[in-house]
Amino acid sequence: MAATQSRRNFLKQGSAVMGGFALTVLSKGAMAQGKTRVRFSGFVESEEQLATTLKVLKAYEAKNPGVEIVPEFSTFRSFTDKLATEAAGGNAPDMFSVNVDLLAEYAARGVLAPLTEYIPDPLDVSSYQDGSVFSCTYDGQMYAMPNDAIATAIFFNPRKFEEVGVAVPDKFYTWETLQETAVALSEAHGRGFWGIEDGGGNNLPCDIFLRARGKALFTPEHTIGFDAEDGAAWFQYWEDMRQSGGCPPADVQAQAGDNSASLGIVRGRAGMLVQTTDSFIGIGALMEDPLDLMMLPNGFDGGEMKQHLYDYAGNSTGIWANAPDKALCVDIIRFMHFDPEGVELYYTGSGMIPASTEGLEKFGTSGTEEEKKLVAYLRMLREDPAPSRRPGVGGLGGMFRRGNEAVAFGDATPLEAAEALVAEINEKLAALKA
């Protein structure tokens, strides 16, 4: 209904402009006659997720005839550009998606409204995993509602292990074992194949690596949780991996970018990949070979073995600090997260694993084979979860990638790269506090 009306509106604008009335300001409100209009903006992680999100919003509209929800979705990067422009122009959408690192940036700069007064009523997060709550918390307040639970994992192609008789590591294994396994795979498969893709430019596995050293990327107080020496050990680990042939040389690795189509594992020239679980189904769909997942290493040779992985929110929904009708936005979130009908519509077939414990159990039993693998993995992590990651700073991925590339292409030593990384993170944290 609204769509046809605004389509007519669109064409009307067109003909009006053609008629030479270009400067008459045509009201965009024609479609909102007598209705409260809520703009819901976000990034789409998958087609399936977009479909279920639209479905649940439609259902909310059906139940609340006075409300019109305008969906505004795009890919992650174009969404962030658009949101920044709109927020700067004082015209941000009423509610929008954020991820854990954007959350800190937007919360600290006063773009997101704190949700404290709506917790626990109507937003009762007591059954949500700590990790998902932490990733929406900044400076002691919750700024968004977690939509899903994700975790870092190693994806692997079991066929590439079987073909050459290399054993998949046990549940608990060390970073040294990972390197040995990767090198064994590379050697057995020969030219153009590597055991694992270079993970040195990825901040997520680095957090797990740091935990085995008793550190972390960020502290709960939103300060940096490691020093240059720790960072250097991380970059050195991957430099050794490259030197020993366990992962591809720098230029081949750089090809992967952040595009799942160019990943070595998709193209059949890598056996393992460090990734977050929300990519599992998408990457698996691009492969003819099967895809499986396992934990990252949980310690070093001779050290203590302890579970260092955790799950957290991959995307969450927040409310603009200047949204005129926050209570309405909260009610829409409530419908998506707590109303049985809304939950059913929002999650079924979305590929997202809910952040609450019941949600996990419910969708873990009804999903596809791949979804069941994911749920089994998250369940395993929740047996003895490590303290979850905290919001960091924006652009972290870029900093790690540059540092790792500088080492890989021989432009910097691991220590130099780590020093630059630490300095840059501190600069960003300082900018947020200012």
């Binding site: 053609m18 700067a88 122009g89 769909a285």
Partner: protein, 310 residues
């Protein structure tokens, strides 16, 4: 008219072969004709090989758009094992809105852009190229300066302005600038073309009592048709493929244009949107190709109608 595209080299050759005169001359002409024929053959061969080189990526796109997602990137063969029409069906149906809506929106906007640019830029270009007025040089420099500032730098001030006008989520931020000759590229292009037209023509008309307005409509406009056609083509193509401006200003999904629709299919973590995305990418090229093909014919025909008779 249809043959107007082939310029005089062909007809020249035909004339020679068609009019055998004295034996010796005719012999020479035959040799010339044969070597010209060989020359043409080589030229065709070159163009075909070169064309294939240019086309390879497009062929890859076409072939891939018929493959199921799981083998698009692992199977590099150029011949699909079977044709997966479902990519097209699913892409066209869309998740958020049917793709035809995006096409319709794109057409409306691109058509308005063509009209706007051709009209407004040719007015302004005529003034800069032919008329004499106060502050001409500084104004021309100012106009060129407007394209030197990178778009990302003025994006936010511009958004604040257009938002104050109440233009967000309407087509006005995209179309109004074209009607108001904001694209200096086309003005400068037309200035160059107009300046290539000999002034004697204007002068002759002026002696006959024509003022600048009549000169513009009766002399300049017809003679600059190659530039107008070029402007029309590029206005259409560049507006049609622009992503940044629609991204910022066309916010609700039912107002999206084609590039935004493609981005919706490009969700990084989806299970199966690669096939539909490639299928719709290919489909989105079709209107551009048609527009280009038609306009380039116009470009060639143009010469027959506007050819300066001196």
């Amino acid at each position: 008219m249809a043959n107007a595209g082939y310029d005089d080299m062909t007809s020249e050759t035909d004339q020679f072969t068609a009019q055998p005169t004295a034996a010796p001359t005719s012999n020479i002409n035959h040799v010339t004709a044969r070597s010209k024929a060989r020359g043409r053959l080589i030229m065709h061969l070159f163009l075909i090989v070169f064309g294939l080189l240019m086309l390879y990526p497009l062929i890859w796109l076409a072939v891939s758009s018929f493959k199921p997602s799981e083998i698009i990137f692992s199977d590099t063969s150029i011949i699909p094992r079977h044709f997966e029409w479902e990519n097209y069906a699913r892409g066209w149906a869309g998740v958020a809105a049917p793709f035809k809506i995006f096409f319709a929106n794109s057409f409306v906007i691109a058509t308005l852009a063509v009209i706007g640019n051709v009209l407004s830029c040719s007015f302004v270009a005529y003034a800069f190229a032919r008329l004499d007025f106060a502050f001409k040089k500084p104004l021309f420099a100012l106009m060129l300066m407007t394209i030197m500032l990178p778009v990302h730098a003025s994006l936010i001030p511009q958004y604040i302005l257009f938002n104050a006008f109440g233009w967000v989520n309407t087509i006005l931020p995209i179309v109004t600038p074209k009607l108001l000759a904001v694209e200096a590229f086309f003005i400068f292009l037309m200035v160059q073309f107009i300046r290539g037209i000999p002034r004697e023509l204007d002068e002759a008309a002026a002696i006959d009592g024509a003022g600048p307005i009549r000169i513009y409509f009766s002399i300049i406009l017809p003679l600059m048709s190659p530039a107008l056609v070029t402007t029309a083509v590029f206005s259409f193509l560049w507006t049609y493929e622009d992503f940044l401006t629609p991204l910022i200003y066309l916010t609700s999904i039912e107002n999206y244009v084609v590039p935004q629709g493609l981005r919706l299919l490009q969700a990084a973590r989806g299970a199966s949107s690669w096939g539909p995305m490639l299928a719709m990418s290919l489909l989105s090229l079709v209107p551009m190709f048609i527009v280009f093909f038609i306009f380039q014919r116009k470009l060639i025909d143009g010469i027959a109608t506007t050819g300066l008779k001196g």
